[in-house]
Amino acid sequence: MRPVKRVELVVPAPEVTALLADLEALGIHDYTAVKGVSGRGSRGQRGDDPFGTFDNTYVLIACEPEEAERVVMLVRPLLSKRGGICLVSDAVWVRH
């Protein structure tokens, strides 16, 4: 059991590939992603789009606090340019 940060992102689906590559470059390899997510934010309604252009993807990253800071730094400009949200919360990781 180790305290970690849960970083949650909701980002435009077409941005995810580039985002994951950027995280990889930061040394953050592990994540979980849920596709086909809809929602509403400052850019209006998104999702349920038969062409997949305006879908969101939800990304969950469990990581060390200092890694979480790097993730936050990385995604901030992405969020303001292309939309999406980022939440950070606390959790305990069950080590195995």
Binding site: G36, G44, Q45, F51, T53
Partner: protein, 328 residues
């Protein structure tokens, strides 16, 4: 034109579009699962490309083909410029560029509905029309991106904000590798290479069940348009009028050029439809990335909720009737 229009309205695919609209308006819980709707749109592109490639192979490059492709290129370069000039005083320059790209490019689903219509009317079009569709897909996007870049560099606010715009290289990469675009072009090439045996083997899939899957997709399009129409007020009366008048103007332009070139009724009608339709698949996929300042609640809603149903219901039979008057 009256009987044409009536016949179009009695087409099952068009009727399923109306059913979708109606079901959406009464806010039914009917929903086509998103993965299935995505599959249907990929299926339509694949079939369209494959059959176009087959037709190209059968007919070869005729003089008519060359004429149609020349006309298509002229339209693809003219329409976005016209649109941008009209729009730039009324909306933000980024929205103007995105809308110009939308109408300069084309709608594959509208094209499909029109192809079925001209075939049903006994005036089928040549396979090179599918090549024209492919040719018209991208130039308007490139022009719009160039316009947006020019606006951006000449706008002091941008420099101040420090936002780094996407590089031209990555934008062109996006445009060229867009999935819908690649699938259409690729299927055209596959259809061309496959030959008669391949065509026969693929026929029940790309042709037999085509009408049914198109009907199913138009049902989903009706649901989608009904949802989008709820947000149509946000785009304001000017843009609504623009989304209704532009197809007429662009179709007239296409009919003029095509008549001068002596095209057949079927070719002429489809050329008009290519001019008149606005893209809601490929353009948003690229513009979303290339001109992030533009609002999809404008360019997408106009193409999807106003121009698309207008063309399906009124436009296609109208352009066909005009083509028959002009060259029939």
């Amino acid at each position: 034109m009256n009987t044409d229009a009536l016949q179009n309205l009695a087409d099952p695919a068009v009727l399923f579009f109306f059913l979708g609209l109606f079901v959406g308006f009464v806010r039914s819980n009917l929903e086509i699962p998103a993965p299935v709707a995505k599959f249907l749109s990929l299926y339509l592109l694949l079939s369209l490309g494959f059959k176009g490639g087959q037709a190209m192979r059968e007919a070869g490059f005729t003089a008519d083909g060359v004429k149609v492709l020349s006309a298509a290129i002229v339209l693809a370069l003219t329409i976005p410029v016209l649109a941008f000039v009209v729009l730039r005083r009324r909306v933000s320059p980024y929205d103007a560029a995105a809308i110009a790209a939308t109408y300069g490019s084309v709608s594959a689903v509208t094209f499909l509905a029109a192809s079925q219509f001209v075939t049903d009317q006994g005036t089928p079009a040549g396979g090179y029309l599918t090549v024209a569709l492919v040719l018209m897909e991208s130039p308007a996007i490139v022009m719009a991106v160039v316009l947006a870049t020019w606006v951006r560099t000449s706008d002091p606010a941008t420099a101040a904000s420090g936002g780094v715009p996407p590089s031209p290289r990555s934008v062109i990469g996006h445009a060229l590798t867009d999935g819908a675009n690649l699938l259409l072009i690729g299927s055209l090439v596959v259809g061309y290479i496959s030959g008669a045996d391949g065509g026969t083997a693929m026929n029940p899939f790309v042709d037999g069940i085509f009408k049914g899957l198109l009907a199913f997709f138009l049902l989903e399009m009706g649901l989608l348009v009904a949802r989008q129409l709820r947000e149509v007020r946000d785009i304001g009366p000017f843009l609504i009028v623009f989304a209704l008048v532009t197809p007429l103007v662009d179709a007239a332009l296409a009919l003029g050029i095509g008549t001068a070139l002596g095209l057949s009724v079927g070719d002429l009608t489809l050329l008009a439809v290519l001019g008149a339709s606005g893209s809601y698949i490929v353009v948003p996929a690229v513009v979303r990335f290339a001109i992030p300042e533009a609002r999809p609640s404008r360019y997408l809603t106009m193409a999807l909720a106003v121009t698309f149903p207008f063309n399906i219901v009124v436009g296609i039979p109208l352009y066909h009737a005009a083509a028959e008057r002009l060259v029939g």
